[in-house]
Structure formats: C-alpha cells, structure tokens
Amino acid sequence: MNSMIGATATGVPSWLRSHEDAQARLPGADRPWLCERRAEALAAFAASGLPTRRNEAWKYTDLKALGSVPLMPAVTMPEPATACPVPTVLADDDVAARLVFVDGRVRPDLSHSRDLPAGVVFADLTAGLSRHEALLEHCLGHRNGITGRSLLALNTAFMDGGFMLRVPRGVRIAKPIEIDRLSGQARGSDGAPLAHHPRIIVWIEDGAEATVLENWAGGGDAVYFNNAVADVWVGNAARLRHYRLQDEGAAAFHVTTLRAEVGRDGDYETFSFSTGARLSRLDADIGLAGTGAHVGFGGVFMMRGRQHCDTTSVIDHHVPHTACREVFKGVIDGNARGVFQGRLVVHPGADKTDGQQSCRTLLLSDGAEIDAKPELEIYADDVKCSHGATAGQLDDNALFFLRARGIDERTARRLLIEAFLADALDQISLPALRTRLTERVEEWMRDRREEHE
C-alpha cells in the first residue's frame, strides 16, 4: 500500500491504483452495468483529476492538501471499528427509521426501520443492489453528469456505503429518517487514512412526504475523506425536508455534491449545519422544474482554528412561478475561512420567479475571513429577485448594553451570536432538531471559550 504515497498534485495515479485494489470488493462488482458505469467515471476522473483553483468554481477552495494524502478506499479496510459510541441526533422513538454507518460500514445492530409505511424503500447501497437493483440502475442512469465534475465522477467510480430512499406516490412518513455516519474511527492497512464515497439517493414521488436527517460525525483527529453525492428528486406536490449536520473530525475532508430537482408544487427544504472538518464543501445544484415549486435552501456554519467551509450553489428556475429562499449565516473565528458562492439563475420564460438569497457572516477575530460571491443571472421578465452578502462584527452598542445590565462579556457575546443565528435556525421546521442545534451553538461557544483560555 505504500506505493500509494507520493500522489501527484491532482491525485490521479494513486486513485487509479487504489481502484484496482478495491474494485473486486466494491458493491456490485458482479454487475456488468455498474462496473461499466464505474469504469466510465474513473476515466472521466483520470482525465481531469481533483479540482484545482484554476477551476472558477474552486477558486476559493484548495484541495491540494487532500491530493497529498495517501487515501485508501474504505472497502479495503481490514477491521471495522466496533466499540465506539455513535452520536445520534433524535431519539429512537422519534424516528421512523435509523441507518448507522461506522467508517462507511452499516451497523445493523444500531439500525432499524420500525416505523416505515409499506411500500417505502429504504436501504443501504449494498442491500439496495440486491433487492432493488432496477430502481438503483434507473436512478443512477437518470442523472449521470460526471463531465466536468471530477469529485462526482470519483464518487461513481468508488461508490460505496450510501443509501437509497424511495417514498411512493402519496405516502407520507410522519417521523424523520435519520442516517448517522461516524467516520475516522478505523484506519486502512499500514495506517492509511480512509476515503468514503457514499451515494445518497432520495426519491419522493408525487404527493409523498418525508424528512431526512443526515448526521455526519467524526470523533477524534484522524484524517479521512468523505466524498458524498446526494441525488434528490421531489415529485409534483411532494415535500422533502432534508437536514444535514456536518460535524466531521478536526482533520477530515468532507465534500457533498448535492443535486436536486423539484417538480410542480413540490417543496424541498434543505438545511445544513456545519461545525466540523478541516475542509468542507457543499456543492449544491438545485433545479425548480415545475410550476409552483418551492425551495428553502439554508444553513449555518461555525468555523474556528484553521477550518475551511465552502458553500457553493446554483439554483435554477426553469419554469414560471417558482420560489426560492436561501438564507445562510456564518460565524467565523480564529484563522478560519468561509466561502459562499451562490448563483441564482432565472431561465428564459421563468416569469414570476421569486428568488431571495442572503449570506450574512459574523467575523469574531482579525484572522477570520469570508469570501462571498452572490450572483444573479436573469433571462426572464417580471421576476422578483434579491441577493445580499454582509460580513460584520458583533455590535458594540448591543454588547455594551447587555454588560451595562450586569451580563458578563462572555454571556453577552453568546446571547448575541445566538441571536444572530436565530432567524437562520428558525427555517428548520422540525422543533426537536431546532432545539438540538441551539444546544450545538451553545456547545460551540463553550468550546471556543475553552480554546481561548
């Protein structure tokens, strides 16, 4: 395995070698259609390598550090970790189903699907391949798009340890489905860090409803790479609430490529709460494809130390009468850096589009940095679009007011930061999660304080 060390800047040769090692063990190694798809994707990745800053979409996020890490596909990992406790978000009684992965491997002992209505397909990728192969082939074939998207191609080539969810027409799942992923517990042979390429497929058919909560956790400071791809379809008059908590380990790399399409009168609400990883990126491509479609795209990121968090998105309004509300809030401390690139495109004919986008950042230190690039591209008439990005510090007047009322400086700062984040967190229509995230904000403030002492 030592031969993998010495990767080039773009990492191509080592990835090719590790694919050779891994391919026999990847899910669906005996399915020609999937092997073909993987081979095609690997060739596409080999042609471009990891994205570099010469690529406009990656101008502010440098994966060079990732290219120099000798990563090993998790599927080749000799011994999965078993003893470690897995952090969860909602209680077992409050979820319809739970799927737990530790270092990319399913933990059936911690997973259940006791409250899923009949007809719902919910399975990890391996189980999905054996029981719902046609459905998986259909979903993967429906949206390929690997050209020019090397991390997506890389995911397809190594795809392992994801899940698929299909909610049939008209079926409403009342409770959320929680997917807990704990990474960074085990290492590959020779101690090599692991790479995971989970593929997430969520298909909410017409009139159906579901809530999905992805919980990405990583205790400790092991290096690893989560290269996820989420493919989401929200059908006509369907509703999906999709929450993502990214609290990866301190030395982890996390990239999620999210592609979603929302049908007529469909409602897709997605919210990302990011506090973890050394480097993380959400790369979202959301299309409003049916009249009356609505998208809520929001998030909170809290970064410190030398963390780097990138949110890059393209929201496409293809047809008339669609609405998108995008609200991101960031809190950046230390020498951490945030990136927000948000493009909102109103295509020809997409009249009466209502698009709002904002990213507001609070910089808590001199070394904190935010690069915000909101963009509007409008090719239709009669639209209502706005965007804005602001960066600022805590309001001195407010801070003094609270202190003059006896509240110590730390508490005053915490109150103001919580207040700053409040309207972003208010976008979450799942009360138990909102409460949990408010606690996470408090924990973050406490950790920050300890770090400063």
């Binding site: 007047n397 609270l402 003059a404 009322r405 006896g406 109150l415």
Partner: protein, 249 residues
C-alpha cells in the same frame, strides 16, 4: 453615594470632560443640564464604563469603591444603572430571556440566590403591570418594533427589576411626546426612595417638570459651572445656555 472629583475624559483625541466635580448623597435626585456637546452623554458613559471613553485624570467613587476600575457588568452589580438615551434593539433575543439573564447576573454578583423561571415571571409580571408594560412587549425581541415610549418604559422596567443604588438617566425625554414622558416620569418617580440616588441628564427643563430634582447643575465645556435648586432649571430654560458662556471659560 457618588463622588466625582476633577474628572477628565477623552473620546478618541478630543477631551470632553475637563475637571468635573459632582457629589450625590443617598436618596438625592440631581439633574445635569447642558447644551449639545457639553459632555452630558460622555459623563453617563464614563459612569457606566463604556469602552472608548478614556479617563485621563480624576476619580469616581461609588459607595466607597473606585468605580473606574470596574467592568460595566461589575458596576451594574454594584448598583449603577444607566438608562440609555437610545435603547439598543437586539433582534433574536427575547426581552424576557434578557431580563432574566440580567436580573440573575446582578443577583449572583450581590450574593443573592438566582430566581427560577416561575419566580422570575412572577416578579417580572408584577413590575411590568405597575409600569403598564404589556405582555407582548416582554415576549418580543429586545426593543424591536417598540415605539419610543415603549423603549423608555422598557428601560424603566429594567431599573425596577435591578433596583440600583444609582440610576443615571441619559436624556430620557428624547423622542417622547408629552403623554409618554409623563408615563415614564411616573415610573421613575415611583422608584424614588431614600436609598436610591438619581442623576437625570437632560438638555431641556421639560423633563424636570415631571421628575423634580433636589439639585440642578449646569454642565458646559466639560465642567459643572453652576449648581442650585430646582429653580435653576427654570432659569436655564428662560435665559438659555448662552447666558453662561462666560462662566465656562
């Protein structure tokens, strides 16, 4: 209660207070009147401990302690209360949450037990009712969407909860119509007591018609240039600050 001796203070490079002396006894209500730029707000911020207001000379003793060495929150704990000229709006922090944090912080400082949510709400409702503060003002974010009068009533409510030994009222009349002014003044007057001193800072005599002071001081050019009884306020109103220009020099 409060002893200010030869106080000099600067904001950035400008010296604003230039040797101010002021002494307030327990239960006394003093008014400081002055034109724009005379140093009124600087005086209130220096007493409350705001950053950026640098004391270059002089002393401020409060109940025997050196006030200037304390942080703003410690001064609040000691019993200094500044009613802001422009109360700050803080979206996202519920007024009730803030009031409870504030009261419990001050109680902790004073070695008193904190109030739990139920006890606190009881105290809050009782004080709020007396001041005509509606329930929805307590639920809303701090001062957000409040009228000028509601903001000032909210300040008086904070004062009623924290029970300070010294209340500094910085231009409490600004932005208030006559009715609102009367309501706020009634609230302040209800808090007058033999062990609570007040320093009422104002440009106009109008406020002193409602909150009648024991002593009136005229502040000009960063110093107190004239002191007298309540009748001095009427004289200022009648003659204007221009009369005292020579005395300030």
């Amino acid at each position: 209660m409060l002893e200010i001796r030869n106080l000099h203070a600067r904001v950035q490079d400008a010296e604003i207070l230039k040797g101010l002396d002021l002494s307030i006894g327990p239960g006394e209500v003093h008014a400081v009147m002055g034109p724009n730029g005379s140093g009124k707000s600087t005086l209130s911020y220096v007493l409350a401990g705001r950053d950026g207001y640098e004391v270059t000379e002089g002393t401020v003793r409060f109940r025997g302690r050196d006030l200037l060495e304390l942080d703003p929150e410690e001064r609040a704990g000691e019993g200094v209360f500044l009613a802001f000229q422009y109360p700050v709006e803080i979206p996202g922090v519920a007024n009730t949450t803030f009031l409870r944090e504030s009261l419990n912080a001050v109680r902790r400082y004073r070695g008193e037990p904190e109030l739990d949510a139920i006890k606190f709400l009881k105290v809050l409702r009782e004080r709020a009712r007396k001041l005509g503060v509606a329930d929805d003002m307590l639920k809303r974010a701090i001062n957000v969407g409040f009228s000028g009068g509601e903001k000032k009533r909210n300040e008086v409510l904070q004062m009623a909860l924290l029970e300070p030994a010294l209340a500094v009222l910085d231009e409490t009349d600004s932005g208030l119509d006559v009715d609102a002014l009367r309501t706020v003044a009634d609230g302040v007057n209800a808090l007058r007591s033999p062990d609570r001193s007040m320093l009422v800072i104002t440009h106009y005599q109008r406020l002193l018609h409602y909150i009648v002071p024991d002593v009136v001081h005229v502040l000009m050019g960063g110093r107190i240039i004239r002191s007298g009884g309540a009748e001095l306020a009427l004289e200022v109103e009648e003659k204007g600050y221009g009369t005292y220009v020579g005395e300030a020099a």
